[in-house]
Symmetry: C2
Subunit: 304 residues, 2 copies
Amino acid sequence: MKRIFIQEVVTRDGLQNEDQFIPTDKKVELINQLSDAGVDKIEVTSFVSPKAIPNLKDAEEVMSKIERKPGVIYSALVPNLRGVKRATSCAVDEINLLVSVSETHNLKNVRRTTDQTFESFHEIMSFLSNKNIRVNGSLGTSFGCPFEGNISEDSVLRLIDQYLELGVSGITLADTTGMATPTQVYQLSKNVLKHWPDLPLTLHFHNTRGMALANVNEGIRAGVTRFDSSLGGLGGCPFAPGATGNVCTEDLVHMLKFMGYEIKADLDQLIDSANYLQSRLTHDLPGQVVKAGKITDLHSASEL
Amino acid sequence: MKRIFIQEVVTRDGLQNEDQFIPTDKKVELINQLSDAGVDKIEVTSFVSPKAIPNLKDAEEVMSKIERKPGVIYSALVPNLRGVKRATSCAVDEINLLVSVSETHNLKNVRRTTDQTFESFHEIMSFLSNKNIRVNGSLGTSFGCPFEGNISEDSVLRLIDQYLELGVSGITLADTTGMATPTQVYQLSKNVLKHWPDLPLTLHFHNTRGMALANVNEGIRAGVTRFDSSLGGLGGCPFAPGATGNVCTEDLVHMLKFMGYEIKADLDQLIDSANYLQSRLTHDLPGQVVKAGKITDLHSASEL
Protein backbone atom coordinates (compact mmCIF):
# COMPACT_ATOMS: atom_id res chain seq x y z
CA MET A 1 0.00 0.00 0.00
CA LYS A 2 0.96 3.62 -0.53
CA ARG A 3 3.38 5.25 1.90
CA ILE A 4 1.93 8.31 3.63
CA PHE A 5 4.16 10.88 5.36
CA ILE A 6 3.13 12.35 8.70
CA GLN A 7 4.40 15.82 9.48
CA GLU A 8 3.85 16.88 13.08
CA VAL A 9 3.05 20.54 13.86
CA VAL A 10 1.87 20.38 17.49
CA THR A 11 4.79 22.26 19.03
CA ARG A 12 4.31 25.10 16.51
CA ASP A 13 0.72 25.34 15.27
CA GLY A 14 -0.65 23.65 18.38
CA LEU A 15 1.24 25.44 21.13
CA GLN A 16 1.12 28.90 19.55
CA ASN A 17 -2.54 29.14 20.55
CA GLU A 18 -1.99 28.10 24.19
CA ASP A 19 -2.38 30.85 26.78
CA GLN A 20 -0.42 28.88 29.33
CA PHE A 21 3.37 28.84 28.68
CA ILE A 22 4.60 25.29 28.13
CA PRO A 23 8.04 24.95 29.76
CA THR A 24 10.95 24.41 27.37
CA ASP A 25 11.89 21.01 28.80
CA LYS A 26 8.32 19.77 28.25
CA LYS A 27 8.43 20.91 24.64
CA VAL A 28 11.79 19.15 24.19
CA GLU A 29 10.41 15.99 25.80
CA LEU A 30 7.38 16.05 23.50
CA ILE A 31 9.50 16.55 20.37
CA ASN A 32 11.84 13.72 21.40
CA GLN A 33 8.83 11.46 21.91
CA LEU A 34 7.54 12.35 18.44
CA SER A 35 10.97 11.64 16.92
CA ASP A 36 11.00 8.27 18.66
CA ALA A 37 7.47 7.52 17.50
CA GLY A 38 8.71 7.88 13.93
CA VAL A 39 6.93 10.87 12.43
CA ASP A 40 8.56 11.97 9.17
CA LYS A 41 8.91 15.67 9.88
CA ILE A 42 8.45 17.91 12.92
CA GLU A 43 7.72 21.62 12.67
CA VAL A 44 9.57 22.27 15.91
CA THR A 45 8.80 25.93 16.46
CA SER A 46 8.48 29.32 14.82
CA PHE A 47 11.15 32.02 14.84
CA VAL A 48 8.70 34.87 15.33
CA SER A 49 8.70 37.83 17.66
CA PRO A 50 8.27 36.64 21.27
CA LYS A 51 5.75 39.46 21.67
CA ALA A 52 3.61 38.09 18.83
CA ILE A 53 3.67 34.49 20.09
CA PRO A 54 4.93 34.28 23.69
CA ASN A 55 4.67 30.49 23.84
CA LEU A 56 7.37 30.15 21.17
CA LYS A 57 9.84 32.63 22.69
CA ASP A 58 12.19 29.73 23.49
CA ALA A 59 12.64 28.72 19.83
CA GLU A 60 16.47 28.65 19.90
CA GLU A 61 16.59 26.80 23.19
CA VAL A 62 14.12 24.15 22.02
CA MET A 63 16.00 23.63 18.74
CA SER A 64 19.32 23.25 20.53
CA LYS A 65 18.07 20.85 23.22
CA ILE A 66 16.09 18.33 21.17
CA GLU A 67 17.69 15.05 20.12
CA ARG A 68 18.00 14.93 16.34
CA LYS A 69 16.96 11.55 15.09
CA PRO A 70 18.28 10.51 11.65
CA GLY A 71 15.50 10.35 9.09
CA VAL A 72 13.36 12.99 10.80
CA ILE A 73 13.27 16.45 9.20
CA TYR A 74 13.33 19.23 11.82
CA SER A 75 11.57 22.23 10.38
CA ALA A 76 10.66 25.71 11.61
CA LEU A 77 8.19 28.32 10.46
CA VAL A 78 9.87 31.64 9.76
CA PRO A 79 8.13 34.94 8.93
CA ASN A 80 11.07 37.16 7.89
CA LEU A 81 14.83 37.46 7.31
CA ARG A 82 15.49 38.10 10.98
CA GLY A 83 13.75 34.82 11.82
CA VAL A 84 15.69 33.03 9.08
CA LYS A 85 18.97 34.17 10.64
CA ARG A 86 17.83 32.86 14.02
CA ALA A 87 16.70 29.57 12.45
CA THR A 88 19.93 28.99 10.51
CA SER A 89 21.97 29.66 13.66
CA CYS A 90 20.17 26.63 15.13
CA ALA A 91 20.77 24.49 12.07
CA VAL A 92 17.18 23.66 11.25
CA ASP A 93 16.81 21.15 8.40
CA GLU A 94 14.05 23.09 6.71
CA ILE A 95 12.62 26.57 6.73
CA ASN A 96 8.90 26.90 6.17
CA LEU A 97 7.72 30.16 4.61
CA LEU A 98 4.11 31.27 4.80
CA VAL A 99 1.98 33.65 2.81
CA SER A 100 -1.80 33.74 2.65
CA VAL A 101 -3.48 33.44 -0.73
CA SER A 102 -6.06 35.89 0.58
CA GLU A 103 -4.72 39.45 0.50
CA THR A 104 -6.93 40.45 3.45
CA HIS A 105 -5.78 37.50 5.54
CA ASN A 106 -2.13 38.17 4.74
CA LEU A 107 -2.46 41.84 5.72
CA LYS A 108 -4.16 40.78 8.93
CA ASN A 109 -1.60 38.08 9.68
CA VAL A 110 1.72 39.78 8.85
CA ARG A 111 0.69 43.39 8.05
CA ARG A 112 2.07 43.11 4.55
CA THR A 113 0.56 42.55 1.11
CA THR A 114 1.31 39.23 -0.58
CA ASP A 115 3.63 41.11 -2.99
CA GLN A 116 5.54 42.63 -0.08
CA THR A 117 5.74 39.20 1.51
CA PHE A 118 7.19 37.68 -1.66
CA GLU A 119 9.73 40.52 -1.84
CA SER A 120 10.96 39.50 1.63
CA PHE A 121 11.07 35.88 0.44
CA HIS A 122 13.52 36.97 -2.28
CA GLU A 123 15.81 38.41 0.38
CA ILE A 124 15.47 35.22 2.38
CA MET A 125 16.28 32.97 -0.58
CA SER A 126 19.39 34.96 -1.46
CA PHE A 127 20.54 34.82 2.19
CA LEU A 128 20.03 31.03 2.08
CA SER A 129 21.60 30.52 -1.36
CA ASN A 130 24.97 29.29 -0.03
CA LYS A 131 23.47 27.28 2.84
CA ASN A 132 22.30 23.70 2.67
CA ILE A 133 18.78 24.24 4.02
CA ARG A 134 15.55 23.08 2.42
CA VAL A 135 12.82 25.64 2.00
CA ASN A 136 9.13 24.82 1.92
CA GLY A 137 6.52 27.32 0.76
CA SER A 138 3.18 27.33 2.57
CA LEU A 139 0.01 28.96 1.28
CA GLY A 140 -2.44 29.92 4.01
CA THR A 141 -6.18 30.18 3.28
CA SER A 142 -5.71 27.98 0.18
CA PHE A 143 -9.23 26.60 0.51
CA GLY A 144 -11.09 29.69 1.68
CA CYS A 145 -10.60 32.84 3.71
CA PRO A 146 -12.63 33.74 6.81
CA PHE A 147 -12.74 37.37 5.57
CA GLU A 148 -12.93 37.08 1.77
CA GLY A 149 -14.72 33.73 1.44
CA ASN A 150 -13.93 31.73 -1.71
CA ILE A 151 -10.35 31.54 -2.94
CA SER A 152 -9.94 30.81 -6.64
CA GLU A 153 -7.82 27.88 -7.80
CA ASP A 154 -6.07 30.26 -10.18
CA SER A 155 -4.77 32.44 -7.36
CA VAL A 156 -3.42 29.34 -5.59
CA LEU A 157 -1.70 28.11 -8.77
CA ARG A 158 -0.23 31.57 -9.39
CA LEU A 159 1.35 31.71 -5.92
CA ILE A 160 2.70 28.15 -6.23
CA ASP A 161 4.36 29.33 -9.42
CA GLN A 162 5.88 32.33 -7.61
CA TYR A 163 7.17 30.06 -4.84
CA LEU A 164 8.70 27.60 -7.33
CA GLU A 165 10.39 30.44 -9.20
CA LEU A 166 11.97 31.41 -5.87
CA GLY A 167 13.39 27.91 -5.63
CA VAL A 168 11.42 26.29 -2.81
CA SER A 169 11.53 22.48 -2.80
CA GLY A 170 8.02 21.78 -1.56
CA ILE A 171 4.60 23.41 -1.26
CA THR A 172 2.01 23.21 1.51
CA LEU A 173 -1.63 24.09 0.92
CA ALA A 174 -3.05 25.11 4.28
CA ASP A 175 -6.71 25.15 5.19
CA THR A 176 -6.06 27.78 7.84
CA THR A 177 -9.55 27.98 9.36
CA GLY A 178 -11.06 24.63 8.34
CA MET A 179 -13.07 25.73 5.30
CA ALA A 180 -12.08 23.00 2.84
CA THR A 181 -14.64 20.48 1.64
CA PRO A 182 -13.68 17.02 0.37
CA THR A 183 -14.80 17.88 -3.18
CA GLN A 184 -12.65 21.00 -3.20
CA VAL A 185 -9.62 19.18 -1.77
CA TYR A 186 -9.79 16.56 -4.50
CA GLN A 187 -10.17 19.14 -7.28
CA LEU A 188 -7.45 21.54 -6.13
CA SER A 189 -4.95 18.76 -5.32
CA LYS A 190 -5.59 17.07 -8.66
CA ASN A 191 -5.15 20.37 -10.46
CA VAL A 192 -1.88 21.21 -8.66
CA LEU A 193 -0.44 17.75 -9.33
CA LYS A 194 -1.51 17.97 -12.96
CA HIS A 195 0.57 21.15 -13.33
CA TRP A 196 3.51 19.91 -11.21
CA PRO A 197 3.43 16.07 -11.13
CA ASP A 198 6.66 15.72 -9.13
CA LEU A 199 6.00 18.48 -6.60
CA PRO A 200 6.34 17.41 -2.96
CA LEU A 201 2.89 18.65 -1.96
CA THR A 202 1.66 18.78 1.65
CA LEU A 203 -1.92 19.33 2.77
CA HIS A 204 -2.44 21.05 6.11
CA PHE A 205 -5.97 20.68 7.45
CA HIS A 206 -7.83 22.04 10.43
CA ASN A 207 -10.77 20.04 11.74
CA THR A 208 -12.81 23.14 12.56
CA ARG A 209 -16.00 21.75 11.01
CA GLY A 210 -15.21 18.04 11.34
CA MET A 211 -14.17 17.47 7.72
CA ALA A 212 -10.39 17.04 8.15
CA LEU A 213 -10.17 13.23 7.94
CA ALA A 214 -12.56 13.20 4.98
CA ASN A 215 -10.35 15.85 3.36
CA VAL A 216 -7.23 13.75 3.91
CA ASN A 217 -8.86 10.84 2.08
CA GLU A 218 -9.73 13.02 -0.88
CA GLY A 219 -6.18 14.39 -0.91
CA ILE A 220 -4.83 10.84 -1.06
CA ARG A 221 -7.28 9.95 -3.84
CA ALA A 222 -5.88 12.90 -5.78
CA GLY A 223 -2.30 11.67 -5.25
CA VAL A 224 -1.10 13.61 -2.18
CA THR A 225 1.06 11.64 0.27
CA ARG A 226 2.18 14.29 2.83
CA PHE A 227 -0.03 15.60 5.62
CA ASP A 228 0.54 18.00 8.48
CA SER A 229 -1.17 17.09 11.74
CA SER A 230 -1.09 18.04 15.38
CA LEU A 231 -0.87 15.63 18.30
CA GLY A 232 -4.11 15.48 20.26
CA GLY A 233 -5.68 17.79 17.68
CA LEU A 234 -4.18 20.72 19.57
CA GLY A 235 -4.70 24.03 17.86
CA GLY A 236 -7.64 26.33 17.54
CA CYS A 237 -9.69 28.65 15.48
CA PRO A 238 -9.30 32.35 16.30
CA PHE A 239 -12.95 33.02 15.43
CA ALA A 240 -14.47 30.18 17.43
CA PRO A 241 -13.08 29.58 20.92
CA GLY A 242 -14.93 26.27 21.28
CA ALA A 243 -13.93 24.91 17.88
CA THR A 244 -11.29 22.23 17.35
CA GLY A 245 -7.87 22.84 15.81
CA ASN A 246 -5.57 20.98 13.47
CA VAL A 247 -6.35 17.48 12.31
CA CYS A 248 -5.33 15.16 15.14
CA THR A 249 -2.16 13.13 14.50
CA GLU A 250 -3.12 9.96 16.32
CA ASP A 251 -6.65 9.97 14.86
CA LEU A 252 -5.15 10.47 11.39
CA VAL A 253 -2.55 7.72 11.80
CA HIS A 254 -5.18 5.41 13.31
CA MET A 255 -7.47 5.86 10.30
CA LEU A 256 -4.73 5.55 7.69
CA LYS A 257 -3.08 2.49 9.27
CA PHE A 258 -6.38 0.65 9.47
CA MET A 259 -7.07 1.60 5.85
CA GLY A 260 -3.86 -0.24 5.02
CA TYR A 261 -1.52 2.67 4.25
CA GLU A 262 2.14 2.43 5.14
CA ILE A 263 3.04 4.89 7.91
CA LYS A 264 6.41 4.96 9.64
CA ALA A 265 5.07 6.38 12.91
CA ASP A 266 4.04 3.99 15.68
CA LEU A 267 0.40 4.49 16.67
CA ASP A 268 0.76 3.32 20.27
CA GLN A 269 3.66 5.67 20.90
CA LEU A 270 1.65 8.54 19.43
CA ILE A 271 -1.27 7.71 21.72
CA ASP A 272 1.13 7.66 24.70
CA SER A 273 2.50 11.05 23.64
CA ALA A 274 -1.00 12.47 23.26
CA ASN A 275 -1.72 11.36 26.82
CA TYR A 276 1.54 13.01 27.94
CA LEU A 277 0.50 16.23 26.16
CA GLN A 278 -2.95 16.06 27.75
CA SER A 279 -1.31 15.80 31.19
CA ARG A 280 0.56 19.10 30.55
CA LEU A 281 -2.58 21.03 29.60
CA THR A 282 -5.53 22.29 31.60
CA HIS A 283 -8.12 21.83 28.84
CA ASP A 284 -9.46 18.79 27.05
CA LEU A 285 -7.81 17.79 23.76
CA PRO A 286 -10.16 17.03 20.86
CA GLY A 287 -8.44 13.79 19.77
CA GLN A 288 -10.88 10.89 19.80
CA VAL A 289 -8.81 7.70 19.59
CA VAL A 290 -7.22 8.56 22.95
CA LYS A 291 -10.71 8.49 24.50
CA ALA A 292 -12.28 5.62 22.55
CA GLY A 293 -9.27 3.36 21.99
CA LYS A 294 -8.19 1.79 18.71
CA ILE A 295 -10.69 -0.23 16.69
CA THR A 296 -8.65 -3.30 17.60
CA ASP A 297 -8.97 -2.68 21.37
CA LEU A 298 -11.57 -5.34 22.12
CA HIS A 299 -13.69 -5.65 25.25
CA SER A 300 -14.81 -8.54 27.39
CA ALA A 301 -18.48 -9.41 27.07
CA SER A 302 -18.77 -9.18 30.85
CA GLU A 303 -17.79 -5.50 30.73
CA LEU A 304 -21.32 -4.23 30.21
CA MET B 1 -26.07 16.58 -8.10
CA LYS B 2 -27.10 13.42 -6.34
CA ARG B 3 -29.93 13.58 -3.81
CA ILE B 4 -28.88 12.39 -0.34
CA PHE B 5 -31.46 11.39 2.28
CA ILE B 6 -30.98 12.44 5.90
CA GLN B 7 -32.54 10.16 8.51
CA GLU B 8 -32.56 11.66 11.99
CA VAL B 9 -32.11 9.38 15.00
CA VAL B 10 -31.44 11.85 17.84
CA THR B 11 -34.63 11.20 19.77
CA ARG B 12 -33.96 7.45 19.70
CA ASP B 13 -30.24 6.65 19.45
CA GLY B 14 -29.23 10.00 20.95
CA LEU B 15 -31.59 10.26 23.91
CA GLN B 16 -31.44 6.59 24.89
CA ASN B 17 -27.98 7.22 26.35
CA GLU B 18 -28.98 10.28 28.39
CA ASP B 19 -29.13 9.81 32.15
CA GLN B 20 -31.32 12.86 32.58
CA PHE B 21 -34.95 12.29 31.49
CA ILE B 22 -35.90 14.62 28.66
CA PRO B 23 -39.53 15.74 29.19
CA THR B 24 -42.03 14.51 26.62
CA ASP B 25 -42.98 18.00 25.43
CA LYS B 26 -39.30 18.79 24.72
CA LYS B 27 -38.97 15.62 22.67
CA VAL B 28 -42.12 16.52 20.75
CA GLU B 29 -40.85 20.07 20.17
CA LEU B 30 -37.51 18.72 18.89
CA ILE B 31 -39.19 16.25 16.51
CA ASN B 32 -41.50 18.96 15.18
CA GLN B 33 -38.48 21.20 14.57
CA LEU B 34 -36.74 18.37 12.69
CA SER B 35 -39.88 17.77 10.58
CA ASP B 36 -39.99 21.49 9.76
CA ALA B 37 -36.29 21.51 8.91
CA GLY B 38 -37.04 18.91 6.24
CA VAL B 39 -35.20 15.74 7.26
CA ASP B 40 -36.41 12.75 5.24
CA LYS B 41 -37.04 10.31 8.07
CA ILE B 42 -37.15 10.52 11.86
CA GLU B 43 -36.61 7.53 14.12
CA VAL B 44 -38.92 8.99 16.72
CA THR B 45 -38.45 6.54 19.58
CA SER B 46 -38.07 2.90 20.52
CA PHE B 47 -40.85 0.69 21.84
CA VAL B 48 -38.66 -1.07 24.37
CA SER B 49 -39.16 -1.88 28.01
CA PRO B 50 -39.18 1.37 30.06
CA LYS B 51 -36.92 -0.48 32.51
CA ALA B 52 -34.31 -1.09 29.81
CA ILE B 53 -34.34 2.48 28.50
CA PRO B 54 -36.09 4.87 30.92
CA ASN B 55 -35.65 7.91 28.66
CA LEU B 56 -37.91 6.34 26.03
CA LYS B 57 -40.71 5.25 28.39
CA ASP B 58 -43.00 7.90 26.83
CA ALA B 59 -42.84 6.32 23.33
CA GLU B 60 -46.67 6.23 22.79
CA GLU B 61 -47.14 9.75 24.11
CA VAL B 62 -44.38 11.18 21.91
CA MET B 63 -45.75 9.41 18.82
CA SER B 64 -49.27 10.66 19.46
CA LYS B 65 -48.29 14.27 20.17
CA ILE B 66 -45.90 15.04 17.30
CA GLU B 67 -47.17 16.83 14.20
CA ARG B 68 -46.91 14.50 11.20
CA LYS B 69 -45.54 16.39 8.26
CA PRO B 70 -46.31 14.97 4.79
CA GLY B 71 -43.17 13.59 3.15
CA VAL B 72 -41.45 12.75 6.43
CA ILE B 73 -41.31 9.07 7.41
CA TYR B 74 -41.89 8.56 11.14
CA SER B 75 -40.10 5.41 12.20
CA ALA B 76 -39.59 3.55 15.48
CA LEU B 77 -37.11 0.94 16.61
CA VAL B 78 -38.82 -2.16 17.92
CA PRO B 79 -37.18 -5.15 19.61
CA ASN B 80 -40.06 -7.65 19.82
CA LEU B 81 -43.72 -8.44 19.02
CA ARG B 82 -44.92 -6.66 22.14
CA GLY B 83 -43.12 -3.50 20.93
CA VAL B 84 -44.59 -3.96 17.46
CA LYS B 85 -48.10 -4.01 18.88
CA ARG B 86 -47.40 -0.80 20.79
CA ALA B 87 -45.86 0.81 17.68
CA THR B 88 -48.75 -0.12 15.37
CA SER B 89 -51.24 1.25 17.90
CA CYS B 90 -49.52 4.61 17.37
CA ALA B 91 -49.57 4.29 13.58
CA VAL B 92 -45.84 4.59 12.96
CA ASP B 93 -44.95 4.74 9.25
CA GLU B 94 -42.08 2.31 9.59
CA ILE B 95 -40.85 -0.30 12.00
CA ASN B 96 -37.11 -0.70 12.32
CA LEU B 97 -35.91 -4.16 13.38
CA LEU B 98 -32.43 -4.73 14.75
CA VAL B 99 -30.15 -7.71 15.04
CA SER B 100 -26.39 -7.69 15.53
CA VAL B 101 -24.22 -9.52 13.01
CA SER B 102 -21.99 -10.44 15.92
CA GLU B 103 -23.50 -13.30 17.91
CA THR B 104 -21.78 -12.10 21.09
CA HIS B 105 -23.07 -8.56 20.68
CA ASN B 106 -26.59 -9.78 19.96
CA LEU B 107 -26.59 -11.99 23.05
CA LYS B 108 -25.33 -9.05 25.09
CA ASN B 109 -27.83 -6.61 23.60
CA VAL B 110 -31.07 -8.62 23.54
CA ARG B 111 -30.11 -11.85 25.36
CA ARG B 112 -30.98 -13.94 22.31
CA THR B 113 -28.97 -15.58 19.55
CA THR B 114 -29.30 -14.13 16.06
CA ASP B 115 -31.36 -17.21 15.10
CA GLN B 116 -33.73 -16.65 17.99
CA THR B 117 -33.96 -12.99 17.02
CA PHE B 118 -34.88 -13.92 13.44
CA GLU B 119 -37.52 -16.33 14.73
CA SER B 120 -39.16 -13.43 16.56
CA PHE B 121 -38.94 -11.39 13.34
CA HIS B 122 -41.03 -14.08 11.61
CA GLU B 123 -43.75 -13.62 14.21
CA ILE B 124 -43.52 -9.86 13.77
CA MET B 125 -43.78 -10.04 9.97
CA SER B 126 -46.81 -12.30 10.12
CA PHE B 127 -48.47 -9.94 12.63
CA LEU B 128 -47.76 -7.04 10.23
CA SER B 129 -48.80 -8.90 7.06
CA ASN B 130 -52.23 -7.28 6.79
CA LYS B 131 -51.07 -3.84 7.94
CA ASN B 132 -49.70 -1.11 5.72
CA ILE B 133 -46.45 -0.53 7.59
CA ARG B 134 -42.97 -0.48 6.09
CA VAL B 135 -40.33 -2.57 7.80
CA ASN B 136 -36.60 -1.80 7.74
CA GLY B 137 -34.02 -4.35 8.84
CA SER B 138 -30.97 -3.04 10.71
CA LEU B 139 -27.75 -4.96 11.20
CA GLY B 140 -25.77 -3.86 14.24
CA THR B 141 -21.97 -4.31 14.38
CA SER B 142 -21.86 -4.60 10.56
CA PHE B 143 -18.35 -3.14 10.45
CA GLY B 144 -16.85 -4.70 13.56
CA CYS B 145 -17.80 -5.90 17.03
CA PRO B 146 -16.28 -4.51 20.24
CA PHE B 147 -16.17 -8.10 21.60
CA GLU B 148 -15.44 -10.25 18.55
CA GLY B 149 -13.44 -7.78 16.44
CA ASN B 150 -13.67 -8.27 12.67
CA ILE B 151 -17.02 -9.08 11.10
CA SER B 152 -16.88 -10.88 7.76
CA GLU B 153 -18.65 -9.44 4.73
CA ASP B 154 -20.16 -12.88 4.17
CA SER B 155 -21.95 -12.85 7.51
CA VAL B 156 -23.38 -9.41 6.70
CA LEU B 157 -24.56 -10.56 3.25
CA ARG B 158 -26.12 -13.69 4.76
CA LEU B 159 -28.17 -11.69 7.26
CA ILE B 160 -29.27 -9.20 4.58
CA ASP B 161 -30.53 -12.22 2.67
CA GLN B 162 -32.44 -13.46 5.71
CA TYR B 163 -34.00 -10.02 6.20
CA LEU B 164 -35.02 -9.77 2.53
CA GLU B 165 -36.58 -13.24 2.66
CA LEU B 166 -38.66 -11.95 5.57
CA GLY B 167 -39.93 -9.16 3.32
CA VAL B 168 -38.31 -6.03 4.75
CA SER B 169 -38.21 -3.10 2.33
CA GLY B 170 -34.86 -1.61 3.34
CA ILE B 171 -31.62 -2.49 5.10
CA THR B 172 -29.45 -0.46 7.46
CA LEU B 173 -25.81 -1.35 8.09
CA ALA B 174 -24.93 0.07 11.50
CA ASP B 175 -21.44 0.80 12.74
CA THR B 176 -22.60 0.43 16.31
CA THR B 177 -19.37 1.40 18.09
CA GLY B 178 -17.56 3.41 15.43
CA MET B 179 -15.19 0.75 14.09
CA ALA B 180 -15.68 1.24 10.34
CA THR B 181 -12.84 2.59 8.21
CA PRO B 182 -13.44 4.41 4.90
CA THR B 183 -11.88 1.55 2.92
CA GLN B 184 -14.16 -0.98 4.57
CA VAL B 185 -17.25 1.17 4.07
CA TYR B 186 -16.57 1.47 0.35
CA GLN B 187 -15.92 -2.25 -0.06
CA LEU B 188 -18.89 -3.51 1.94
CA SER B 189 -21.34 -0.97 0.45
CA LYS B 190 -20.15 -1.76 -3.07
CA ASN B 191 -20.50 -5.48 -2.42
CA VAL B 192 -24.02 -5.15 -0.99
CA LEU B 193 -25.18 -2.96 -3.89
CA LYS B 194 -23.62 -5.40 -6.37
CA HIS B 195 -25.79 -8.18 -4.93
CA TRP B 196 -28.93 -6.02 -4.52
CA PRO B 197 -28.66 -3.00 -6.88
CA ASP B 198 -32.12 -1.63 -6.04
CA LEU B 199 -31.97 -2.13 -2.29
CA PRO B 200 -32.78 0.99 -0.24
CA LEU B 201 -29.57 0.83 1.81
CA THR B 202 -28.88 3.07 4.81
CA LEU B 203 -25.53 3.52 6.53
CA HIS B 204 -25.59 4.35 10.24
CA PHE B 205 -22.26 5.67 11.52
CA HIS B 206 -20.91 6.57 14.92
CA ASN B 207 -18.10 9.12 15.07
CA THR B 208 -16.34 7.36 17.95
CA ARG B 209 -12.90 7.61 16.35
CA GLY B 210 -13.52 10.63 14.13
CA MET B 211 -14.03 8.73 10.87
CA ALA B 212 -17.80 9.15 10.38
CA LEU B 213 -17.79 11.95 7.77
CA ALA B 214 -14.99 10.23 5.85
CA ASN B 215 -17.09 7.04 5.97
CA VAL B 216 -20.14 8.84 4.62
CA ASN B 217 -18.12 10.02 1.61
CA GLU B 218 -16.96 6.50 0.87
CA GLY B 219 -20.52 5.25 1.21
CA ILE B 220 -21.67 7.82 -1.33
CA ARG B 221 -18.81 6.87 -3.68
CA ALA B 222 -20.07 3.29 -3.48
CA GLY B 223 -23.60 4.38 -4.37
CA VAL B 224 -25.32 4.78 -0.98
CA THR B 225 -27.71 7.74 -0.66
CA ARG B 226 -29.31 7.26 2.79
CA PHE B 227 -27.60 8.12 6.06
CA ASP B 228 -28.70 8.05 9.68
CA SER B 229 -27.43 10.90 11.83
CA SER B 230 -28.08 12.47 15.19
CA LEU B 231 -28.60 16.17 15.86
CA GLY B 232 -25.65 17.69 17.71
CA GLY B 233 -23.85 14.34 17.43
CA LEU B 234 -25.77 13.20 20.52
CA GLY B 235 -25.20 9.56 21.38
CA GLY B 236 -22.36 7.74 23.01
CA CYS B 237 -20.16 4.73 23.19
CA PRO B 238 -20.87 2.36 26.08
CA PHE B 239 -17.16 1.50 26.39
CA ALA B 240 -15.79 5.03 26.35
CA PRO B 241 -17.64 7.62 28.41
CA GLY B 242 -15.69 10.52 26.86
CA ALA B 243 -16.11 9.37 23.28
CA THR B 244 -18.49 10.98 20.81
CA GLY B 245 -21.66 9.37 19.53
CA ASN B 246 -23.53 9.22 16.24
CA VAL B 247 -22.41 11.23 13.26
CA CYS B 248 -23.70 14.76 13.78
CA THR B 249 -26.64 15.75 11.56
CA GLU B 250 -25.79 19.42 11.08
CA ASP B 251 -22.09 18.67 10.48
CA LEU B 252 -23.10 16.00 7.94
CA VAL B 253 -25.59 18.25 6.15
CA HIS B 254 -23.08 21.13 6.22
CA MET B 255 -20.41 18.99 4.55
CA LEU B 256 -22.73 17.44 1.96
CA LYS B 257 -24.44 20.72 0.99
CA PHE B 258 -21.10 22.45 0.46
CA MET B 259 -19.95 19.45 -1.60
CA GLY B 260 -22.92 20.18 -3.85
CA TYR B 261 -25.26 17.33 -2.93
CA GLU B 262 -29.00 17.88 -2.94
CA ILE B 263 -30.42 17.70 0.57
CA LYS B 264 -34.00 18.56 1.46
CA ALA B 265 -33.21 19.60 5.06
CA ASP B 266 -32.47 23.26 5.80
CA LEU B 267 -29.04 23.68 7.39
CA ASP B 268 -29.83 26.86 9.34
CA GLN B 269 -32.92 25.28 10.88
CA LEU B 270 -30.87 22.22 11.87
CA ILE B 271 -28.27 24.48 13.52
CA ASP B 272 -31.06 26.27 15.41
CA SER B 273 -32.43 22.90 16.54
CA ALA B 274 -28.99 21.75 17.65
CA ASN B 275 -28.73 24.90 19.78
CA TYR B 276 -32.19 24.15 21.19
CA LEU B 277 -31.09 20.60 22.02
CA GLN B 278 -27.90 21.90 23.63
CA SER B 279 -30.00 24.20 25.85
CA ARG B 280 -31.93 21.14 27.16
CA LEU B 281 -28.79 19.20 28.13
CA THR B 282 -26.22 19.67 30.87
CA HIS B 283 -23.24 18.40 28.85
CA ASP B 284 -21.50 19.70 25.75
CA LEU B 285 -22.61 18.30 22.37
CA PRO B 286 -19.82 17.17 20.01
CA GLY B 287 -21.21 18.90 16.90
CA GLN B 288 -18.65 21.29 15.44
CA VAL B 289 -20.51 23.52 12.97
CA VAL B 290 -22.60 24.88 15.83
CA LYS B 291 -19.38 26.11 17.46
CA ALA B 292 -17.40 27.17 14.39
CA GLY B 293 -20.18 28.41 12.11
CA LYS B 294 -20.70 27.48 8.49
CA ILE B 295 -17.84 27.91 6.03
CA THR B 296 -19.85 30.74 4.47
CA ASP B 297 -20.10 32.67 7.77
CA LEU B 298 -17.49 35.33 7.05
CA HIS B 299 -15.85 37.65 9.56
CA SER B 300 -14.92 41.29 9.50
CA ALA B 301 -11.18 41.96 9.26
CA SER B 302 -11.49 44.18 12.33
CA GLU B 303 -12.63 41.19 14.40
CA LEU B 304 -9.13 40.03 15.34
